[in-house]
C-alpha cells in the first residue's frame, strides 16, 4: 500500500497544477478548485485499477476533474435560482457595467454566457490546448460534436463583442 502511495505522488506532482487551473477556470474560486483537485486525485487513486489505458492519464484525470466541476456548477445553479422580484439592483448594475465595460470584460461576460457545453469546449481547447479528439474523450462526446460546439461558441463570442 505504501508503495502504491509512493508511486502515486509523482503523478500528483506532475499533474496537480493542470488539474487545479482547469478547476479554477470552471469554478472561478480558488478554494473550490483546491477542493476539486484533491477530490480528483483521490478518485483517480481509488479507481486506478480500472484505468484501461485507452486515454492518457492526463486526459483521464481531466475527465474526473471536469465531471466534479460540473457537479459543483450544477449545485451552484440550483442554489442561485431566486425569484426575479427579489432583485437587489445587481441586474441593473450588471447592465450598466456591460455598457461601460471594456472589451476584455465584455469578452469575459460573453464567455460566461455561452451554453455550458460550448464553454467547456472553449476552455479545454484554448486554455488546456487540447486536441478536439481529447476534448471529446474528456466530455464523453464525439469529435464532430465538439468541433460544432467550438464553432458555435466562436461565432457567438464574435457576435457578442462586435
Amino acid at each position: 500500500m505504501a508503495g502504491r502511495q509512493a508511486a502515486f505522488e509523482p503523478l500528483v506532482e506532475k499533474y496537480q497544477r493542470s488539474v487545479f487551473f482547469t478547476a479554477l477556470r470552471f469554478l472561478k474560486n480558488q478554494e473550490e478548485a483546491d477542493d476539486i483537485t484533491q477530490k480528483a486525485f483521490l478518485r483517480a487513486y481509488q479507481a486506478l485499477g480500472s484505468f484501461r489505458f485507452e486515454s492518457s492519464f492526463k486526459t483521464w484525470l481531466t475527465t474526473i476533474a471536469v465531471n466534479l466541476c460540473k457537479n459543483v456548477v450544477r449545485g451552484q445553479r440550483i442554489m442561485v435560482e431566486v425569484p426575479e422580484t427579489l432583485s437587489d439592483g445587481s441586474v441593473e448594475r450588471r447592465k450598466e457595467e456591460e455598457e461601460t465595460g471594456d472589451r476584455k470584460s465584455q469578452l469575459k461576460k460573453a464567455l460566461e454566457n455561452l451554453p455550458e457545453r460550448q464553454k467547456e469546449v472553449v476552455m479545454l481547447r484554448i486554455y488546456e490546448e487540447m486536441p478536439f479528439k481529447k476534448i471529446a474523450e474528456v466530455l464523453e462526446s464525439t469529435e464532430t460534436a465538439v468541433k460544432v460546439n467550438f464553432h458555435h461558441a466562436m461565432k457567438s463570442l464574435k457576435e457578442w463583442i462586435q
Binding site: V12, Q16, F20, L24, R25, T37, F41, L42, I126, Y127
Partner: protein, 180 residues
C-alpha cells in the same frame, strides 16, 4: 472565365482571410483573459499535495478489497443463486409435465444472461418462497420460446400471476433491448 467570376472568387478569398484573422485575434484575446488567473504559488501546491497524499494514506485499504470483492462476488452470487434455485427445484421439477432438463437449463441460462440475478433487479428471486420459485421457473421454461422468437404463441397472459407477469415483461424488455 468572365472577369466577374474572378472578382467574386477574389472577394470570397478576402472574406475568408478576414474571417481567419478575426478568429485568430479572438483566440488571442481569449488566451489573454487566462493571464488574469492568479497562480497561488508553490507553497499552496506543496500544501495541497500534502493534503492529497494524506487523504490517500487515510484511504482505507478497503479500496483494493472492495474492488476485488466486487470483482469476485458478482459471479459468485450469480452462481450461488443458480445453485440454490437448482437444489430447491431439482426434486420435482423434472418430473412435471412439459418440463425437461434442457428447458430448465435454458431458463437458468436466460435468467443469468438477462441479469435477473444481479443485485439491482426488481424482482428479488431470493425473497420468493420455494413454491413461488418453482412455479416461476416452471412457467418460464414452459412458456418462453428460447429458439429466438421470444414467446410461445399459445401463451395466455391472463393465466400468469403478478410475479410471473413481471418476470415475463422484463424478459421481453430485455429481449427487445438486445434486439432479438
Amino acid at each position: 472565365m468572365k472577369p466577374e467570376f474572378w472578382n467574386q472568387q477574389k472577394q470570397q478569398i478576402m472574406e475568408s482571410i478576414r474571417d481567419l484573422n478575426e478568429y485568430g485575434a479572438l483566440i488571442e484575446e481569449l488566451k489573454a483573459l487566462d493571464s488574469g488567473l492568479q497562480d497561488p504559488g508553490e507553497l499552496f501546491f506543496a500544501r495541497e499535495r500534502r493534503a492529497i497524499m494524506k487523504q490517500i494514506a487515510e484511504e482505507p485499504q478497503t479500496t483494493k478489497i472492495t474492488r476485488s470483492w466486487q470483482y469476485f462476488a458478482k459471479p459468485l452470487l450469480a452462481m450461488a443463486a443458480v445453485l440454490i434455485l437448482a437444489l430447491t427445484l431439482q426434486f420435482d421439477f423434472f418430473n412435471r409435465p412439459g418440463g425437461n432438463q434442457r428447458e430448465w437449463l435454458a431458463t437458468l441460462q436466460t435468467l443469468q444472461e438477462t441479469g435477473w440475478f444481479e443485485e439491482d433487479r426488481d424482482l428479488p428471486l431470493e425473497e420468493l418462497s420455494d413454491q413461488e420459485l418453482d412455479k416461476l421457473a416452471y412457467n418460464l421454461a414452459g412458456k418462453i420460446d428460447f429458439s429466438g422468437s421470444t414467446v410461445d404463441e399459445d401463451l395466455d397472459l391472463p393465466d400468469l400471476q403478478d410475479d410471473e407477469l413481471d418476470v415475463y415483461i422484463k424478459f421481453l424488455e430485455t429481449k427487445v433491448g438486445r434486439g432479438t
